[in-house]
């Protein structure tokens, strides 16, 4: 035994755990507030391209997503492996984009409608043909503010 300890037979007192729930609750509230549930299940697989000059999308409520990429494994047998467009939870055609933009716009606050951003989440190896078609449709739907979703990182 160390010579500093008084050997008076007292047991070390139990650590009070009554503050533990408080700490855990604090963490819980933090995660509850910051969490955003995934709204859509991806049916296409997407590997985003890399870029260095990216800016962040601050307001989630302004953003609508258009996904483009080859269908995931379980859909390949029906749809083949050519890149497809996904809007919300469904596969879609290029022609559906105008309707999609319109319904997204209706769902928004009236004074936010002008600031609408469409985020294009497109797989790196998609051909530009389909992307150009989408861009033309977006122009027709007057959704001109777009964002090419990409990861931070050096290219080439």
């Amino acid at each position: 035994m160390s010579k500093f300890r008084k050997d008076d037979g007292k047991e070390t007192p139990q650590i009070s755990t009554s503050a533990l729930p408080d700490i855990v609750f604090m963490l819980l509230f933090f995660f509850m507030v910051t969490t955003t549930m995934r709204e859509t299940t991806l049916k296409v697989s997407i590997a985003l391209p890399q870029a260095t000059e990216i800016s962040k999308l601050e307001k989630k409520s302004l953003v609508s997503y258009v996904y483009v990429g080859p269908p995931q494994k379980q859909y390949i047998s029906q749809l083949g492996s050519e890149p497809r467009i996904q809007l919300n939870d469904e596969f879609a055609k290029v022609g559906d984009i105008t309707d999609f933009v319109e319904s997204e716009r209706q769902a928004m606050d009236e004074n936010e409608q002008k600031q609408m951003i469409v985020s294009l989440k497109v797989d790196e190896y998609t051909k530009m043909g389909i992307v150009t078609d989408i861009k033309q449709e977006l122009r027709k739907a007057a959704a001109l503010h777009i964002n090419y979703s990409s990861r931070q990182g050096a290219n080439y």
Binding site: E124, L144, I146
Partner: protein, 193 residues
């Protein structure tokens, strides 16, 4: 006097809270979406396109990407790595070269009269139907990088501060000197057979 209620055991409260905590930890996605921001041009009917006034060739910086992801800049085969320097040369035209764009003197706040490129000068990005999206983004990224670098340099020279730290008026002045004018041309088939 009412009887005192017996105090219940709260030790399992922590367990319940932990379970909820773990649930939210697992389901949470913290990724903030980010990407290259772009504004598309207003939609115009294909019939109306004919009567746009012609732009002098020296004022257009043409970037073509073909279906094999090769890059042609102003008629020369170029690597993506060299694109930024070429774009910067176009945007500044330091030697007042005949083949590079015209300049005009313009009154800019904070800077006074300053030589800027004429309004008609533009970077034109054209791609083939078969171009890969990744390459297209890489090219876009390089062009934006060129402009951002020029803005940053100018901000450092004039204000001694990073472009990010300037106030809005100063940023607008810098933007006026180096506007981000990248035109994504109407789709067209190039380099195909």
């Amino acid at each position: 006097m009412p009887r005192k209620l017996p105090e219940y055991n709260a030790s399992s409260l922590a367990d319940i809270a932990f379970m909820l905590l773990i649930f939210f930890l697992v389901t949470t996605t913290m990724d903030i979406d980010s990407g290259l921001e772009r504004r598309l041009p207003q939609w115009v009917d294909p019939e109306d396109i004919e009567d746009t006034p012609p732009i002098k060739e020296r004022n257009v910086f043409v970037v073509l990407v073909d279906r094999n992801n090769r890059l042609m800049v102003e008629g020369e085969l170029t690597r993506v790595e060299d694109l930024k320097d070429k774009a910067k040369e176009f945007l500044t035209n330091p030697m007042n070269d005949e083949t590079l764009p015209e300049k005009e003197v313009k009154e800019v706040p904070f800077f006074g009269p300053y030589e800027v490129l004429t309004k008609s000068s533009v970077i034109s990005l054209q791609n083939d139907v078969g171009t890969t999206y990744g390459t297209y983004i890489a090219v876009q990224n390089e062009l934006v990088a060129a402009i951002n670098e020029l803005r940053e340099n100018l901000a450092q020279r004039k204000f001694g501060k990073s472009y990010e730290d300037l106030n809005e008026d100063q940023q607008d002045a810098v933007k006026e000197i180096y506007p981000q004018k990248i035109s994504e041309a109407e789709p067209k088939k190039i380099g195909g057979r």
